[in-house]
């Protein structure tokens, strides 16, 4: 079942006289429970794509449906409403509020949804234990490490059981150990609670954790790779190869 369906999305920046078309007609379909990553050269429009898919930015043309609900025409208020019920976010910079503790940060999305306090506590305990941040719950963001921050941010994305989680280079600021820790947790959660994750990344290692990789070039989908039954290593090699063809630059991995 398709949870996200985007048809012919276009996005351009600038005004009439100075227009830059960043997305030039992208079709993308993500099924429930998929873990998809989007790759492409710097400036190819990945972040832009993620932003429009996640309703943070508006498309210039085209339609996007999440769980069958079209949202391209919605008002800012409806969009916000839509985001808080259906979407979760993990950003490249951890995007935690400095003035809130880990627990308060994680519980933020629940506070708008009128979830009871008891329920909220239960959910927090579950997700925080899974991501290994339960002991940090009363610490402030500047008292914990980058990896822990990113896991906090992931916990916040998962806490309200969103239909889709969007992640923009979630491992960008992490060392390879913390990065693989986080990715393992993400794919675990992806399997365990059948959540759908769409992730933008530069890192072929990160991409190899996914079930599918979409490559973007010049605002269009260049190709897609499915992991299928192959091992992560084999999938990784495929990704490297495609990247090489795509960017013209050989990755030294």
């Amino acid at each position: 079942m398709a949870i996200l369906e985007a048809n012919q999305i276009h996005k351009s920046f600038g005004n009439k006289f100075n227009k830059q078309e960043v997305l030039k007609g992208i079709d993308i379909r993500v099924d429930k429970g998929e873990f998809v990553s989007i790759m492409g050269a710097s400036g190819s429009g990945k972040t832009t794509l993620l932003n429009v898919l996640s309703s943070i930015d508006k498309v210039s043309l085209g339609s996007i449906k999440i769980e069958g609900k079209e949202f391209t025409g919605m008002k800012e208020k409806e969009l916000a409403e839509f985001r808080k019920h259906h979407l979760g976010f993990i950003f490249q910079e951890y995007n935690l509020l400095d003035t809130l503790t880990v627990k308060e940060n994680v519980l933020l999305p629940l506070s708008i949804k009128k979830v009871s306090k008891k329920d909220a506590n239960q959910r927090f305990q579950k997700i925080a234990t899974e991501l290994g941040i339960y002991e940090l719950k009363d610490k402030y963001p500047n008292q914990i490490s980058g990896g822990q921050k990113q896991r906090t941010s992931a916990a916040r994305a998962f806490i309200h059981d969103p239909s889709i989680i969007f992640a923009d280079e979630p491992t960008g600021a992490l060392d390879s150990k913390s990065a693989s820790d986080l990715l393992n947790k993400l794919s675990e959660l992806n399997l365990k609670i059948d959540s759908t994750i769409i992730m933008v990344t530069h890192d072929p290692v990160a991409a190899s954790y996914c079930s599918r990789v979409v490559f973007i070039k010049d605002g269009q989908i260049y190709t897609q790779l499915n992991k299928g039954e192959q091992s992560r290593q084999a999938f990784f090699n495929d990704i490297i190869k495609t990247q090489g063809v795509l960017g013209g630059v050989q990755n030294e991995h």
């Binding site: 976010f89 935690l96 308060e104 519980l107 708008i112 506590n121 500047n142």
Partner: protein
Amino acid sequence: MNINYLIYRNLKKNIKNYYLYVFALIFSVGLYFAFVTLQYDPATDEAKGSVKGAAALGAASVLLVAIVAIFLLYANTIFIKRRSKEIGLFQLIGLTKGKIFRILSAENLILYFGSMVIGIFAGFAASRLILMILFKVIGVDAEAALSFSTEALIQTVIVFAVIYVLIMIMNYTFIQRQSILSLFRAVSTTENQIKKMSFLEMLFGLLGIGLILLGYYVSTKLFSGDFTSMNELFMAMILILGSVIIGTYLFYKGSVSFIFNAIRKSKGGYLSVNEVLSLSSIMFRMKSNALLLTIITTVSALAIGLLSLSYISYYSAEKSARQSVPNHFTVANSNDLAAYIQALTDENIEFKQTKRDVIQVNADLSQVIGANLEVVSGPGEQQPMVIPVISDESVEGIDVSPEETLFTGSSDAIQQFMSIQATGDIELTSPNQQIKQQLIGLEKDSYVSYYFASGGLPAAIVDHTVFDKLAQDLDPKIQKETNVYYGIDLVDPIAIDQANQIFKDLGISESTGNLSQSELIMNQKSNMGLMMFIVGFLGLTFLITSGCILYFKQMDEGEEEKANYTILRKLGFTQGNLLKGIQMKQLFNFGIPLIVGLFHSYFAVKSGWFFFGTELWLPMVMVMLLYTALYSIFGLLSVLFYKRIIKEAL
């Protein structure tokens, strides 16, 4: 890209950002210029002369400079800190510190002196209006015409040039002290803001509230007779000031974050947006701004308090004049009286005469006086008091029995000192007899002028039989020159000015005991009017500068927290959600200092208002409402600023 281009670009960007700074600058210059123009203008000689207000105006202008200078310097620290990143960037691309300083100075020079020129024009334009207001409050009938005063111009330019130099020195030391790295870091001050609440802090918080309450408590006791010597009184005042100010500081340092922390703890980590935006952000910031907030609160309290007191006095001028002189005119000397009556008759001014016999009698009031008398009469000398006594026959509508006495015309100040009870036993003493009387009440209206009532003591009304007994047996040592009170009331009050003129022309007003009610009112109004005008001027300047400072702080915070709004909006909070939280935050941010300031001033005014007039509530509440309204404007402005930030956040 040359330096001039950089300066130009910076300037363009900054004018938009700092419009309030520019506004505040224009305003300060305008206000100051208007003030010195008044000070130098011959048109105000009358106002000055009538109250020897020149010295007051001069002192006020010095204070004005102090407020404005502190404000501009403070605002500059905020702005230079905000630009540290930019300065770091300039350094990074290879500009020397000297060059950066020159860019900043040039930019400031244009902004600053541009605003100054505008401010001087605005100030000149406003000074006529201000003069009109001044004339109105002090009751002078004169044409408000002003000429441009070069003296005022020079003084203004010098004062603000000196402030400019100070600002430049500050910028210079700031730039010199910073390395590229620390410049980049200056903005991210969140690091040290987040610390856990300690037990000590909690203690300080409680101590702060305790100290404030102690100060309030002592202030209510200040003039109620518990402090008997001048020395003790002085010590008590110092205690009040000290404990309230230190208490306020601790309140901001500890109590606010303590209370907020307690609320936050009780939520168990589950905060709503409103709480996220208000509680968590204020908690940390109030602490680091404790000193600033204490200063703002204290000076606001001072401004509100002084304004209230002068307005109380202005407002109750008529009432207290009526208490001092119950009729339009009173003439103690019978020759003067005859002359005055003759003059009034000649001018065809109709009038009514009142005549009352007033005798001075020793009275033992120890049973009805609540307070320790040493305050009033000095330690050790508890001699009986001398009070004026009149017969109930001479007062229309009042009749007391031979055992009863009614006190009239007791002033608020005396009442506060002595706290005379409305009923009780008193004793009237003449050389050969002692008459026991029952006090049956205290009335505010007075029936004789204050010439007879020594030091504001009430006048006693007794039955005519008692009065006759006392009058037969007077103690000559304590009698006034005359024992008759003559009051004159005009039938038609319109003629009051004419009657006043005659009163003055005949030279009657010169000798003691001869008083004109309307003269008294006018005197008090013009005294208090000028006071009020000066205090109002300073208060307004202070209000605007402190409002601006709080606003600048909010601008700073808003920009620092912009990233937070981005996150929150991405998570699905609407602009409306966030704005509600911000409104709550501003309610606290501006409301807490205001409310604390209002409370401080309330207790300050309450402790001593009776020296100034007869009416406490109405004038005080009016001053407070006005202050609150003007002050709220800055809260509203900052909400609007946040609105923009939130809108731009996504």
